[in-house]
């Protein structure tokens, strides 16, 4: 049998699933004792170039409350042409089209290698993709110009039949009509007035007039599709829209000294949501919001227009001093929920030096599966390339985005679904497999994921329901089926079905097996998601304390030690890295708000709860590579001792890429050795991390901030704040080592953390 490492890798490659435990404890009690819940990271649209979609409808179990999809785990009676559902044990006849079925002639969905299969189904007319740009015009001239160019460029990236729309806002909100010739026409809304969806649709003339007085006259043809005026196929309005964007001016209303420009982001979004709601409900659509500052008026306002009152900080929030926070958050949540119901996702592209209100607005993207991109200016390659990458295409030439996803999770009887954490909203489907115990977004086994891309990953948490006295019989297998329905970017409706099974194990007799089935990477990310989810509603220290307690309990459960003897403490290989992940997680911006603005925290958390396992791990524990003359580039410990004068370091934190030149290297570089022919090898050394960084930059979304710094440089703080502070000003002389660089911090180092952990784990008093 292959190692668990191989098994896990294989499962991830095939099904996009990583479980915390790959053997499941057979009773509820045992499961809770394992501390880390049975849970998984699931990537619904994991790219599978080798998986051709099948062109027929899935076969469903006929039991009304089951409807599981026929899968390789089902028992099939080829002679009777009957299959048994492996979730509810209902015996179902095959549909007539399966008449020719036999042991040697099996449909794809019965073959083991198709545990993940994708169906293309016909449901209604194909709906075009919709892109609605919502553009802030309260920008600096240079920024606006850059943004205009990016938007114009994006038109060429859209599929020609996609519908586009344009809303601009500043003090007022303008919805631009795209179909008209001659005079450019737009509908204007006051930026201070909250309007209902119905009012917005009426004001845009989208509702048919109910006035009876107008009989007599024939209906004009343009009435057939009133929405066309605002959302037009790209190929038709390409030129028109390019011109329109070109003529876009900065908000003309004067901004007095000492004031912020009046920015009606709230109303603009409500108009965008209302417009799509009225015209294309349940159709894939992206609202793309571009902002250069915080909303300063009307509903959803985050800060007043007086410059002397700064935008809320964590300090203000903790002191309950953020005046607009609750109201604005509530407003955007309501919008996000409306949008999610209709399957429209909202992206936020925020480029400003100060905060822009992402804290209040994050739910717009978090609940609808939209992107959040944060930058300093629209005139940076960070924004430009990130934005371009939104429209990247896969190996088939299709956009790496899908819309209107609905993820349904079915479990066999011994399991129940507790919840999901990711860019989704609950669909409140209370099936028999829904647990009362909620983790994340719970109380349902169906979630709406308005926008998906191949890396979108949800954390899904389960609960073992069997009581201790009636455990699952040995050798049994539990099964989980993930059914993801979505609108492919080529407008097809598709259903992807992933069915997996794991063995049950008795936790008392087979604890070693269970321990070795532990996927510490997945577990770290899944626990981190729980922590981040908690951090959204709880105080930071409470979350840390909870994480610490979980870690200690886990160590007590699986550690090998003599009571009250910390030195005897040992963890097996399958858990060895876990405490280190937790150490870095504790220090990460996902749980630490110090040094981060509320917007930044929201931004980091937003990305953390949607990326796949690899990226998430990088976020928790950044990767550090070392480049030197002493050998090929190698990964080194994320530790201050890795910072050496004759090394170049490349750190990837997901959000930042830092190239750090050690003291000596920096001096050489300054002296210009790389220019000299005889030091060609130095030149190559300098170039190597740049090339590697470039490779990461090529694929990462959003584009990381790229930092090139050196020993003593101000930007070196990005590196210094991440590495384990094994050498600080406190212990530098005590250690007496010559290598490494001291970090000026009072934070505990990994060694101290581990010492404490061991002490607490072995302590008999807890």
């Amino acid at each position: 049998m292959a190692t668990y490492q191989e098994f896990i890798q294989q499962n991830e490659d095939r099904d996009g699933v990583r479980f915390s435990w790959n053997l499941w404890p057979s009773s509820r009690l045992e499961a809770t004792r394992l501390v880390v819940p049975v849970s998984c990271l699931f990537t619904p649209l994991k790219e599978r170039p080798d998986l051709p979609p099948v062109q027929y409808e899935p076969v469903l179990c006929s039991r009304a409350n089951c409807k599981a999809v026929l899968n390789p785990l089902c028992q099939v009676d080829f002679r009777a042409k009957i299959w048994a559902c492996n979730f509810c044990f209902q015996r179902n006849p095959f549909p007539p089209s399966y008449a020719g079925i036999s042991e040697v002639n099996q449909p794809a969905e019965l073959m083991p290698q198709f545990s993940t299969i994708e169906y293309i189904v016909q449901r209604g007319p194909p709906a075009p993709l919709i892109f609605l740009y919502v553009v802030d015009t309260c920008l600096e001239e240079e920024d606006l110009q850059a943004l205009k160019e990016s938007l114009q460029m994006s038109l060429s990236l859209l599929p020609p039949n996609a519908l586009v729309g344009l809303i601009t806002f500043g003090r007022m909100v303008q919805v631009h009509e795209l179909s008209c010739e001659g005079i450019a026409k737009s509908y204007v809304f006051r930026g201070t007035k909250e309007l209902s969806s119905k009012q917005i649709q009426e004001m845009l003339g989208l509702t048919k007039p109910a006035a009876p007085g107008q009989q007599g006259r024939p209906m004009a043809p343009q009435d057939a599709a009133p929405s066309c005026r605002f959302l037009q196929p790209v190929h038709r309005v390409d030129m028109n829209l390019t011109d329109l964007l070109g003529e876009l001016q900065r908000d003309p209303w004067p901004v007095p000294q000492g004031k912020r420009p009046l920015r009606s982001t709230g109303v603009a979004l409500s108009v965008a949501v209302g417009l799509l709601e009225g015209t294309f409900p349940n159709t894939g659509a992206r609202v793309m919001l571009f902002i250069g500052g915080p909303p300063t008026q009307g509903p959803g306002m985050v800060v007043g227009d007086e410059l002397k009152t700064p935008i809320r900080s964590w300090h203000d929030i903790q002191k309950d001093n953020a005046r607009h926070l609750k109201k604005a958050t509530k407003y955007y949540e309501a919008l996000a929920n409306r949008s999610a119901v209709n399957g429209h996702s909202i992206d936020i592209y925020a480029c400003a030096l100060d905060q822009t209100g992402l804290l209040e607005m994050k739910c717009l993207s978090n609940l609808t599966g939209g992107h959040i991109v944060m930058g300093d200016s629209f005139n940076t390659s960070l924004f430009k390339q990130t934005f371009q990458r939104v429209f990247s295409k896969d190996f088939n030439g299709d956009f790496r985005m899908a819309f209107g996803g609905v993820l349904e999770v079915k479990t066999s009887r011994e399991l129940k679904v507790c919840g999901a954490i990711g860019p989704c909203v609950s669909l409140n489907s209370k099936g028999s497999c829904v647990s009362e115990n909620e983790m994340g977004t719970g109380g349902t086994n169906q979630w709406k994921v308005c926008s998906l891309n191949p890396s979108t990953t949800l954390g899904i948490y389960f609960e073992v329901v069997n009581q201790h006295n009636a455990p699952v019989p040995q050798g049994g297998r539990g099964a989980i089926q993930f059914v993801t329905q979505y609108q492919h970017s080529n407008t097809q409706r598709r259903i992807r079905v992933t069915t997996i099974a794991r063995n049950w194990a008795d936790a008392q007799s087979q604890i070693q097996h269970i321990e070795s089935s532990f996927d510490q990477e997945a577990a770290a990310v899944l626990m981190a998601r729980l922590g981040v989810f908690r951090a959204e509603s709880e105080e930071g220290p409470d979350v840390l304390r909870w994480l610490d307690r979980q870690l200690i309990r886990l160590c007590q459960k699986f550690g090998q030690f003599n009571k009250d003897d910390p030195t005897s403490f040992k963890l097996s290989e399958s858990l060895s890295l876990y405490p280190q992940f937790m150490f870095h997680l504790r220090r990460s911006p996902f749980l630490q708000v110090f040094n981060n603005s509320p917007d930044e925290s929201s931004y980091y958390r937003h990305h953390f709860v949607r990326q796949d396992l690899t990226q998430s791990l990088i976020m928790i524990q950044p990767i550090l590579y070392s480049y030197s003359f002493y050998g090929p580039p190698e990964p080194v410990l994320l530790d201050s001792s890795s910072i050496l004068p004759d090394r170049i370091l490349l750190m990837d934190t997901f959000f930042q890429l830092v190239i750090y030149h050690g003291e000596t290297i920096a001096q050489w570089r300054k002296a210009g050795y790389q220019e000299m022919a005889e030091y060609e090898n130095f030149k190559q050394l300098l170039q190597a991390p740049l090339d590697d960084a470039q490779e990461i930059l090529q694929t990462r979304f959003p584009m990381p901030r790229y930092i090139d710094t050196e020993h003593g440089g101000s930007q070196a703080r990005f590196l210094l704040s991440k590495v384990n502070p094994s050498q600080t000003h406190n212990n530098l002389y005590a250690w007496g080592q010559e290598t490494g660089a001291p970090i000026l911090t009072d934070d505990v180092s990994l060694q101290v953390f581990m010492d404490h952990l061991k002490k607490l784990a072995v302590s008999s008093s807890t």
Partner: protein, 807 residues
């Protein structure tokens, strides 16, 4: 002289008879006995007018106090010698009674009709502009009257005593001047404010809103583009015309470009604003559908200088008719339209004028939404007054906001049915604007009238954000004001806009005794922003005599002005009183005036004699015209809108306009000589000859009546056809024929049109044609179809009333 006795006998006999009969039956038996009174024997307006014309052969100088000017129908030149020209101020009485008792006894209204920005004929100099420097115009310390010829300089010129309140004020050093031996300042004739009745002061920043010199005003054109507006052709006509009209925006110096900025809005149920910034290649349309809470969606590019944005504006005006050519929207809003204009002016921080072109009752859901409340059944009942009141208070408060911003509204209406002029007119009337109404507008036949009105309305001299204050000498006080304006207190007449055609009638009451020696003084000061954005004060001074003898009062009255006052008084009265009561009050007051005269001034004679004061001998005939006007006595075919329209229109008319409106000018067109007009004939069918052609002018209408057997030569000269039957009654303009008669007739028509503030469409009425009914309505000496008495009958009725009062 002042005893009018030629018809004494007739009336005496007749009335005795009449009274007897009347008791027996309600039917007036006048018809039977009509022939018994010779219409030529009763006072003839034509005679009076012609007499006055004959009398007046030298310029009227205003230096003499208490001198009644020639009649409004007379052409005369004015020389300002210290009192305002009658073109600016006309009084009902130039010899005011000294005491309140006398005034009450006589019942003669004491009023002045003031037209502050009246245009003067080219041979008279417009008011001089006086600059008193940084400290502003010199004024009396107490009553704040402005420096004028009535200020008496004392103490060698170091101080002056106010003619109004007698307070003594120091003369500021920079204004000091020595006095001559008569006590006059040496520079008296160098300074307009010391020697003239009318002049202007340059106002300082203290006289401006928020202590900030005003911005140049703006004109905003708001065009209804609903189905009716497009279909009637109004939209394309307006857009076409505006392209040329924009070059004729008002300016003070004809060589300079106008500084007035322009903006454009179209609307139906929603409003479309246009960005016409000069730098744009194409205008941009911004639709505001949130009519419940109006706002201006753009700042930059809405109000623009015509020259900077000419191409964009022209492109816009070309495209508007196309854009809405296929509209099916029939509903309109109105309140938000004005709000939009107002907000735009607010945003630009300037005063200005809105030109609203509107077609229908605003029934779309919005503030100021109206319902159709035309109910013919209410006419003649006590509830009739409610029909003249606005149906929603919204427009009253909107008007107030407009006035505060200096936003004047001119409304052009193109209704096909009831639009509730009474309500829609509230804002224009309160902001010093005008309402123009083109019922059943058809491009072909009404275009000329509309375009001429529009051209004149845009081009005419106008002031903005004006406040008028009338100060009087101790003893009398301005108590009541009539016209198109808004008042938030009892003394200041606020006018968002004031143009050269608007007159304000001011009523005075005694609050003390006046002295014969000093007479009564009044000073009308209008603070306004000129069309070039200059803040100014226009001052008109007027001094009249005072008398302790009633006879003197009756000798110096002006009937035309009295009628102007009475009509405005009555037309306002119907807002709060039943029409019948208003009519009775009018008759009653006139009877009292005449009875008072009879009792106190006329030589004793038989009670059966009707004796009228010379100055007021036309009072009965004119009063009758007022009483039978459409407003007070509507015919069956007169719509409520028409009445409301006329009611509002009269309220800002000057004396000349009310005169011709109530007693139209009827010219026989048999012989036409160049240089002079034929003598008019009285407005009675009896005066029309079958063989003649007549021209009738009311200030609003122009008729050419053609007798059934009109001479062929005449027809040939006028119409180019010999046959009566070939004359097309639908013609609105006369053919241009190369004969002196035709030329002269067209000249006359043109000159009539030039005299009036509104363009008169020519209607050709053939005798015994259906249209003659309309024409006959204006033959005001005859009995009217709606039941109005003939002149003769009314005179008898007045006589009866007077006799009752005397007995």
């Amino acid at each position: 002289m002042y005893l009018f006795c030629c018809c004494r006998l007739f009336l005496h006999n007749l009335l005795d008879k009449l009274l007897n009969v009347k008791q027996a039956s309600d039917l007036p038996p006048v018809q039977k006995s009509r022939h018994r009174i010779d219409p030529d024997a009763i006072p003839s307006p034509i005679q009076v007018i012609e007499d006055d014309k004959a009398k007046c052969n030298e310029p009227f100088t205003t230096g003499v106090r208490g001198q009644a000017p020639p009649l409004v129908t007379t052409n005369f030149q004015v020389k300002d010698q210290g009192n305002a020209s009658p073109r600016f101020i006309r009084c009902t009485a130039y010899n005011m009674p000294c005491t309140a008792d006398m005034a009450k006894q006589s019942q003669v209204p004491l009023a002045a009709v003031i037209k502050p920005l009246a245009t003067l004929p080219p041979d008279e100099t417009p008011p001089y502009l006086v600059d008193h420097g940084e400290t502003g115009p010199i004024r009396c310390n107490r009553c704040k009257a402005y420096m004028c010829p009535y200020m008496q300089f004392i103490e060698g010129g170091r101080r002056f005593q106010c003619g109004f309140c007698s307070c003594v004020t120091e003369v500021p050093p920079h204004y000091f001047q020595h006095l001559d031996h008569t006590g006059k300042r040496v520079d008296c004739y160098d300074r307009p404010e010391l020697s003239l009745g009318s002049y202007e002061f340059l106002a300082t920043v203290d006289y401006c809103k928020n202590n900030k010199l005003p911005q140049p005003p703006a004109f905003i054109f708001l065009i209804d583009v609903s189905y009716n507006a497009v279909k009637s052709g109004m939209v394309s006509i307006v857009c076409q015309e505006l392209k040329t009209l924009l070059d004729y925006l008002p300016r003070e110096n004809p060589d300079m470009d106008s500084v007035v900025r322009v903006g454009f809005v179209t609307y139906n149920k929603v409003l479309h604003f246009y960005n016409v910034k000069g730098s744009l290649a194409q205008p941009q349309m911004l639709v505001v559908s949130d009519v419940s809470d109006m706002f201006v969606p753009l700042l930059d590019g809405f109000l623009v200088n015509v020259n900077d944005s000419r191409l964009v504006i022209e492109s816009l005006l070309d495209q508007i008719p196309e854009m809405f050519a296929d509209t099916r929207e029939t509903e309109t809003v109105f309140g938000p339209v004005i709000q939009a204009g107002l907000e735009a002016l607010k945003a630009a921080d300037c005063a200005g004028k809105l030109f609203v072109f509107h077609t229908s009752l605003p029934i779309a859901e919005a503030p100021g939404k109206l319902k159709n409340r035309e109910d013919k059944k209410l006419i003649g009942t006590d509830k009739e007054k409610s029909l003249f009141q606005p149906q929603a208070s919204f427009y009253n408060s909107l008007a107030k906001d407009c006035v505060a911003q200096g936003c004047c509204v001119d409304l052009f209406l193109f209704p096909n049915q009831y639009v509730d002029v009474a309500t829609l007119g509230v804002v224009p009337v309160s902001t010093g604007g005008s309402v123009y109404k083109y019922t059943y507008f058809q491009a072909q036949s009404d275009q000329e009238r509309f375009l001429n009105d529009l051209r004149r309305d845009i081009q005419k001299p106008v002031g903005f954000d004006a406040v008028m204050r009338v100060r009087t000498s101790t003893g009398i006080r301005a108590t009541d004001f009539f016209g198109s304006f808004f008042m938030s207190n009892t003394t200041d007449v606020e006018l968002a806009g004031l143009d050269c055609d608007k007159a304000i009638t001011v009523e005075f009451k005694h609050d003390d005794k006046l002295s014969e020696e000093t007479g009564a003084l009044m000073q009308c000061a209008v603070l306004y922003t000129s069309c070039s954005g200059q803040r100014r004060l226009r001052i008109h001074n007027m001094a009249v005599n005072c008398c302790s003898q009633l006879a003197d009062l009756y000798r110096n009255c002006e009937t035309d002005t009295i009628i102007n006052f009475f009509s405005k008084y009555a037309f306002r009265g119907i807002l709060n009183n039943p029409t019948k009561a208003v009519r009775d009050t009018l008759v009653n007051q006139c009877a009292q005036i005449l009875a008072c005269y009879r009792k106190n001034c006329a030589s004793p004679s038989s009670a059966g004699q009707l004796i009228l004061p010379e100055c007021m001998k036309l009072l009965p005939v004119y009063l009758n015209c007022v009483l039978k006007s459409d407003v007070l006595l509507p015919g069956a075919d007169v719509s409520l809108d028409d009445r409301a329209y006329l009611r509002q229109l009269i309220s800002c008319m000057d004396v000349a306009e009310t005169h011709v409106f109530f007693y139209p000018r009827l010219l026989p067109l048999t012989k036409l000589e160049s240089g002079s007009l034929p003598v008019a004939v009285r407005d009675s069918e009896e005066r029309l000859s079958k063989g003649g052609v007549y021209l009738l002018e009311t200030g609003l209408h122009l008729f050419l009546w053609v007798g059934a057997s009109a001479q062929q030569e005449l027809l040939l000269n006028i119409f180019g056809t010999q046959s009566f039957s070939q004359i097309d009654p639908a013609t609105t303009s006369l053919p241009v024929l190369e004969n002196p008669f035709s030329q002269r007739l067209r000249e006359i028509i043109e000159s009539f049109r030039a005299q009036r503030s509104r363009y008169m469409k020519l209607m050709v009425v053939k005798q015994e044609d259906r249209a003659e009914l309309i024409f006959r309505h204006f033959l005001v000496e005859d009995k009217s179809a709606s039941g109005g008495a003939s002149y003769v009958d009314f005179l008898c009725h007045m006589h009866k009333e007077i006799r009752q009062l005397l007995s």
